[in-house]
Amino acid sequence: MNYMMMIFESDDAMESRNGGPNTEAYWASWGAYHSALTEAGVITGGNALQGKQTATTLRITDGKRQVQDGPYADSKEQLGGYMVFDCPDLDTALDWAAKCPAAEYGAVEVRPVHKSE
């Protein structure tokens, strides 16, 4: 079964991607996590996202495009990236989520991917 990991990170964590005292540690932890996922054959896809200041939200109201600068939900932590895991059950997916660096300083939402029937 496929599970999507939605990775929520604080603005500070997002900042530390692009230089600063924590940059090296930030990328090292993600590198190690990614290697472990690949080695176990768990990860089937995913990406890190650029910061929420680059987000644009669109909806159509009365047939007209309403385009807004910013993310859909403006919260303290933002969606920093996503990954898709292939796991036998939720418990296994949660075990992998627990190893995610963002679980320590942000949050990881785990959701099964909808199967088209």
């Binding site: 036998p88 059950d89 939720l90 418990d91 785990v110």
Partner: protein
């Protein structure tokens, strides 16, 4: 066909339901991951049993009969979806069916422990864990659960459906957790059972019969966990704790439903057999390694029971146990209980200091906080403050008998 035979059939079906409902639900759902479908298939099997057994008599092994009918129904239901959906659970059921036909004498495996762990899974909302356990493991009707939890039957029904959909949709595994997670996960199972007991207790104040039922269900569940996991001291601790509380059931209210606090209860009304069983369970638990909150809570109750032997409370022991409990599980209830014990054992000032040191936001609207505070203030002669605290406690009490009791204490405080 005679009426008495009809009654025999109904009784046989009822007995099979009582004895094997939880095992059948657990067996079927742990193979398909679908609790709702397992419950539906079983309900159908019981329905068919009433009809078929009336014609051809009660089978030698009613449990196996029900299992076969329910399983066939699940397999049929699964086949319809096989083309579109993942057929894996159905195939598993078919394989096991063949396996079991080969070994007909063997009883089917007991998967109830897996079901208990699913109901108290961390991915399931805490508020629905107890209703889910009551419904799936014990087959308690949703409307009865709803009334115990003070929500409307449709609301409770929706919440239960949502929880079962989550279990199926997110594919929560029907497995007993591995060794390193077992302790934490078991604690959640035990807390879920204790919540059922607490609900029964609170409900006792309103309409007695319904609440009483849930306390019995909770005791049954705790016994089941001990049967299935005999080497877990916290499970014994929980059962001991509930038995201590249960032993005082007849002493908690007078015949006109007046509330009687622990300190004023007539100890001859306490149930000695229950206390003896609780003492044995607690002693066995404490001999093993792995102290936990339920064993400590039970130890406090055990210390209260010393009154049976000595006629008075041993506050020194009680305070010591509370100190350990406060380190291990500093919940509002524990910290307030500790303050009350300090107020009794070491003096009002110590009790007040302990109350003031509780650093929990939720405490301001927690009835026991104000009730204990009022008592301690009254004892220390701070009557105006005591009066205000009593008022606050009364405002926060939902139970009329408790309100009346607090009102009386408030008047006594002024009278003295």
């Amino acid at each position: 066909m005679g009426k008495s035979q009809d009654q025999d059939v109904a009784r046989a079906a009822e007995q099979a339901a009582q004895h094997s409902y939880s095992r059948l639900v657990a067996y079927l759902s742990s193979r398909t991951g679908d609790l709702a479908a397992a419950e539906d298939a079983l309900a159908d099997a019981f329905q068919r049993a009433l009809q078929t057994w009336r014609r051809s008599g009660v089978p030698d092994n009613p449990e196996a009969w029900l299992l076969v009918v329910a399983r066939n129904r699940l397999i049929d239901g699964g086949r319809k979806f096989t083309v579109q959906k993942n057929a894996e659970p159905t195939i598993r059921l078919i394989q096991e069916e063949a396996e079991m036909e080969k070994n007909q004498d063997q009883a089917f495996p007991d998967d109830r422990l897996k079901l208990l762990f699913v109901c108290a899974h961390p991915a399931i909302d805490v508020a629905i864990r107890t209703p889910l356990m009551l419904q799936t493991v014990l087959g308690v009707q949703a409307d009865r659960i709803a009334s115990a939890f003070l929500v409307s039957p449709p609301t409770m029904g929706q919440r239960l459906v949502r929880a079962k959909n989550k279990i199926r949709g997110a594919k929560i595994s029907f497995e007993v957790p591995c060794r390193d997670q077992l302790k934490v996960r078991l604690q959640a199972v035990l807390e879920t059972i204790y919540a059922a007991y607490g609900t029964g207790w609170n409900d006792l104040t309103g309409c007695a019969s319904q609440g009483q039922d849930l306390t019995e269900e909770a005791l049954w569940l705790a016994r089941l966990v001990i049967d299935l996991l005999p080497d877990q001291p916290e499970a014994r601790g929980l059962l001991a704790l509930m038995l201590y509380c249960e032993s005082r059931q007849a002493a908690r209210r007078s015949t006109d439903n007046t509330y009687i606090p622990l300190s004023e209860q007539n100890i001859s009304l306490w149930s000695e057999p229950m206390i003896i069983e609780a003492e044995q369970l607690l002693a066995a638990a404490l001999r093993e390694s792995g102290i936990g909150p339920f064993q400590l809570e039970a130890s406090i109750q055990s210390a209260h029971c010393m009154r049976l032997a000595t006629g008075r409370n041993n506050w020194c022991d009680i305070i010591q146990i509370y100190d350990r409990l406060a380190q291990l599980a500093p919940t509002a209830g524990v910290l307030i209980g500790r303050a009350a014990a300090l107020g009794e054992g070491e003096g009002p000032q110590q009790g007040l200091t302990a109350l003031q040191n509780i650093d929990l936001k939720s405490i301001r609207n927690y009835q026991p906080f104000w009730a204990v505070k009022a008592d301690i203030l009254a004892k220390s002669g701070q009557l105006r403050e005591a009066d205000q605290a009593y008022q606050k406690a009364i405002d926060l009490s939902e139970d009329k008998a408790i309100c009346a009791y607090l009102q009386l204490k408030r008047q006594h405080a002024y009278g003295s």
